[in-house]
Symmetry: C2
Subunit: 117 residues, 2 copies
DNA sequence: CAGATACTTGAACAGTTATTCATGGATAAT
DNA sequence: ATTATCCATGAATAACTGTTCAAGTATCTG
């Protein structure tokens, strides 16, 4: 656990965490972020957008949810900057913002696929 | 997004996702996992254990929670195999199970530190 | 054995969250 | 202009989650 603003010790090019327990504030931010990824429908939305840019209506059909529900969830994903959008006429096209989500997915998959001890 | 059991296309040693929308089951598993990381106190517990192996009581004091609350949370972390433990006398020592948690932390930190567009 | 310590567990309660439903705003079509 | 379409939003409700509290198990001590 380390990032640019935290106290770390560089060892062979790798940051080794020296910091103590996460501050309540940092823990809160982490939790808020991961909490957004703690909903199955949001994952389905993200995976749909991983394929291609989609309008809200198309997205709703793709993941079998109401447009309203999808719209609510897109707002959550927007505030966490996981998706971005562009308006065209009365349509709004959404897409994934960056590929952090891919790395998180992969890391989680690896963990979940690990054999039990 | 890819893992060993999903349909992927190998390109230069990297799996490129071809699969469609995540199945409800897979999305559910992802959500359950990330949901566990969606609580600030669990992050504080994990960060404490990142420093060193700790007993439940020590952990409770370190993160300023009741022993009961910590114990409940440890059970959650255990079921997601994020922590492991060993008993010694009447004490139970907990520690991080693997370093996936570090990678997830780092990936999330990077995302959160990204500048707005 | 009796009591103390370390931890776990179940129930209950408060706070949070995700959906639905109804509505409103903006743009396009007729 | 009127109507239809696409999407966003607020309120309400049902479901879920995390803590506390009370009790229970296991181990150690005197």
């Amino acid at each position: 656990m380390s990032n640019s603003e935290d106290k770390t010790v560089p060892v062979i090019g790798v940051d080794v965490p020296v910091e103590g327990i996460l501050s309540v504030e940092k823990a809160q931010r982490m939790a808020e972020f991961f909490g957004v990824l703690g909903d199955p429908n949001r994952w389905r939305i993200l995976s749909a957008l991983a394929l291609k840019e989609l309008r809200v209506g198309e997205l709703a059909e793709a993941v079998d949810m109401s447009e309203s529900a999808v719209s609510h969830q897109l707002r959550v994903l927007r505030t966490m900057r996981l998706v971005s959008y562009r308006k065209q006429g009365r349509s709004v096209y959404y897409c994934l913002k960056d590929d952090h989500i891919f790395n998180l997915y992969q890391e989680a998959s690896e963990h979940l696929d690990e054999p039990d001890d």
